[in-house]
């Protein structure tokens, strides 16, 4: 196994916090596109040139957010981009003939918005903040967004929100060391916390920074300041016919691999878990088929030392037939990688 650097992208003038591949690109001849966001208060759109295979910056989205842009997320159709900022707002951008226009600004959080996520159908949006709350917004016609629920439950800042890949179940992770699972149990926007995964359930012992699902949605991996990755599993995704909920349970803990805080984790459709950490390295893990009973269930496939010159804040696999990995760093650069076996 070898990790080959395809390109190193410069442009941001401060740390790059996050990025998101546009899910509607990378197939049917559409060049791969991703958005990146930074402490320089801007968002950049990068598009692949089909002949050279390299990316170039196509647009810089600026003068909307007044502080760090912490996270960004494309809608499932790839037409809208949501950006969450320390300025307490979430902006919605629409691609109009190659130009990105800010078509809506979601206000309500008391302070820094840290993460934004669309559900699978693109009908709901979730945001979370240092104000400890998670907000669910309904997407209405005409780029209108209505807050349908404010979820209180975490006792500290909420670091990340993520929807289940197929069900309308929301997951959040926090500085309070917990993961929480939220679902709408009634017909009328009655969102409730249906499960808390914390220390008593073999959960994390420090800030949980991120989580990611496997392709089928019956497993989830989380990463933490406690220097571990944890894999969780469920019998049955979503609500069962009787109205009950199949709970998530701890499957295993990957410990001893990371030296400093793990900021990001992403599970590829092919089953490879990539992690990004404050030790500047990128690591890859896979299910260990040869694992003995009671042995570790996942093994380290590859560790890329010095993936970046500074902390690696984010990793994400691209859509398309042959997934590439993009990483974002405190060194202000983004790198696109290919994992070659």
């Amino acid at each position: 196994m070898e990790l080959k650097e395809i390109q190193r992208l410069e442009g941001h003038t401060d740390r790059v916090w996050s990025l998101d591949w546009n899910p509607a690109t990378g197939h049917a001849g559409i060049p791969l596109v991703f958005a990146s966001c930074s402490g320089d208060k801007t968002v950049r759109i990068w598009e692949q040139n089909l002949s050279s295979g390299l990316w170039a910056c196509k647009a810089v989205l600026e003068e909307t957010h007044t502080r760090t842009v912490r996270s960004c997320a494309w809608s499932p159709s790839g037409k809208l981009l949501a950006t969450a900022s320390f300025d307490a707002t979430t902006a919605i951008w629409e691609n109009v003939g190659g130009d990105f226009e800010c078509v809506s600004t979601l206000e309500g959080h008391e302070n820094e918005v840290k993460s934004v996520a669309w559900n699978a159908a693109g009908t709901l949006l979730a945001t979370c903040s240092r104000d400890k709350s998670v907000w669910i917004w309904e997407v209405l016609p005409g780029n209108e967004f209505e807050c349908v629920s404010v979820l209180q439950g975490h006792s500290q800042d909420v670091k990340m929100v993520k929807w289940h890949p197929t069900e309308d179940i929301l997951f959040s992770c926090s500085y309070d060391n917990n993961l929480k699972v939220w679902a709408d149990e009634g017909d009328s926007d009655d969102w409730q916390c249906i499960q808390t995964l914390g220390e008593p359930n073999n959960g994390h012992t420090s800030t949980v920074w991120a989580l990611s699902f496997n392709a089928s949605g019956d497993k989830m991996v989380s990463c933490s300041d406690d220097l571990t990755l944890k894999v969780w599993e469920t019998e049955n995704t979503g609500m069962q016919s009787g109205g009950g909920f199949a709970p998530w349970r701890h499957r295993c803990t990957l410990t001893g691999y990371h030296d400093r805080t793990i900021f990001s984790v992403h599970w590829s459709r092919e089953g490879i878990i990539a992690s990004a950490a404050a030790d500047d390295a990128i690591r890859f893990f896979v299910d260990d088929n040869e694992s003995q009973v009671g042995g570790p269930l996942y093994k380290l496939l590859l560790k890329k030392e010095k993936g970046h010159d500074m902390d690696v804040n984010f990793v994400q696999w691209s859509p398309g037939e042959k997934p590439l990995l993009a990483s974002a760093s405190d060194d202000g650069t983004i790198k696109v990688w290919e994992l070659i076996s």
Binding site: R15, G39, R67, T68, R70, F86, N111, E112, K114, R130, D157, K159, Y175, S206, T207, D225, D259, R260, A278, D279, D280, E305, K306, D309, M310, D311, D330, D331
Partner: protein, 167 residues
């Protein structure tokens, strides 16, 4: 044996540092850190008005600042930085409400002097603060640090503390 222990000789430590430095030209001498931070503490200690507004009943001084023997760049090939010790400071009052602001000042000050790829952990000395764990967690959460430094009020406080001319 006993004699050697009683007379812990500072020359031994100096020798160690020199060896480490010669092996890794990028290592930072702890004396440099003392130099950098001394100016900061001088400000804390010599500007009583600032001290009161900043730290209420809390003080820090060079004597109780814990600095690891040597700081080595994270990616140093010479030595594994796995057990790199944090820089510590000791608030004189267990309930000091400004401990996180002081830690923030230390972080900003050090950032100006160190190459960007250095990784510095800042903590209160063990047992010195009632909310030790929570202060340490906050000081080493880079997202919180970044957000704090974008907050105009906090930024002003930190800048006043670091660049005050009231000496």
């Amino acid at each position: 044996m006993t004699l050697g222990l009683i007379n812990a000789n500072p020359v031994v430590r100096a020798k160690k540092e020199r060896i480490a430095r010669s092996e890794d030209p990028h290592a930072v001498d702890p004396l440099d850190i003392y130099d950098i931070l001394f100016s900061l503490f001088f400000i804390f200690l010599s500007a009583p008005s600032l001290l009161i507004s900043l730290t209420s009943l809390c003080q820090i001084s060079c004597g109780i600042l814990g600095i690891p023997n040597i700081l080595i760049p994270w990616n140093s090939s010479v030595s594994s930085p796995r057990n790199q010790s944090p820089i510590t400071f000791t608030p004189t009052v267990q309930h000091c409400s400004m401990a996180t602001v002081i830690g923030l000042c230390l972080r900003v000050k050090l950032k100006h002097y160190f190459p960007p790829h250095y990784k510095v952990d800042i903590k209160v000395s063990p047992g010195s603060h009632a909310d030790e764990e929570s202060v340490n967690k906050q000081l080493n959460d880079k997202e919180r640090v970044a957000a704090a430094l974008e907050n105009p009020n906090l930024r002003q406080l930190v800048d006043e503390c670091l660049y005050s001319n009231e000496l």
